[in-house]
């Protein structure tokens, strides 16, 4: 049972990654791509890590995966700000 739940979470997570990549390719302008991508990826990684944690069945590994997810989320939010800021600065200077 745990295996089924874990695997489903992994696949839903991968689905979010696919959605994010397709968004990155198809959305018309930079800022909408930025929003779509960072949200989809962080959610995708979270679900995938949760699924793998359930599959591993080891709370220590689960904790490590959770910490990595927190780290990626924090860094991702900052990175999105920095990239958006850089894009705006470049537009100003043109």
């Amino acid at each position: 049972m745990n295996d089924v739940i874990g695997l489903s979470l992994v696949f839903i997570g991968v689905g979010f990654f696919l959605a994010g990549s397709i968004g990155l390719l198809r959305l018309p302008d930079l800022l909408s791509r930025l929003h779509a991508l960072t949200k989809a990826d962080n959610l995708g990684l979270g679900l995938l890590a949760l699924g793998l944690g359930i599959l591993a069945g080891d709370w220590l590994i689960g904790l490590k995966l959770f910490l990595i997810w927190l780290l990626v989320m924090g860094a991702g939010a900052a990175a999105a700000h920095l990239i958006a800021g850089q894009a705006l600065r470049r537009e100003d200077s043109r």
Binding site: F11, L30, L37, D41, L65, I68, L71, V72, A75, L82
Partner: protein, 84 residues
């Protein structure tokens, strides 16, 4: 286990699609965004690989990649010269 391998392939396909944005651009920020995706997706890929290859050390690699992806974006968006 082979279900995880399918997940891994799908994830890699997703990263490949994202990298197309890095190749075509057009703006530099688009390419940075693609690098950001590769960082997050790379972490996910490493976590899956660590289970599939039976190498728990790859979780450490995922941690380090997550840390360095943030440093890389900081370097990419680095400010201009101090005295200008």
């Amino acid at each position: 286990m082979s279900w995880l391998l399918i997940a891994l392939l799908l994830l890699l396909a997703s990263l490949g699609l994202g990298l197309l944005r890095a190749l075509v651009g057009p703006s530099l920020a688009d390419r940075m965004l693609s690098v950001q995706l590769l960082g997050t997706g790379g972490v996910a890929l490493l976590l899956l690989l660590s289970v599939l290859l039976g190498q728990p050390a790859l979780i450490d690699v995922a941690l380090v990649l997550a840390l360095l992806a943030a440093v890389a974006v900081a370097a990419l968006t680095g400010r201009e010269l101090e005295h200008e």
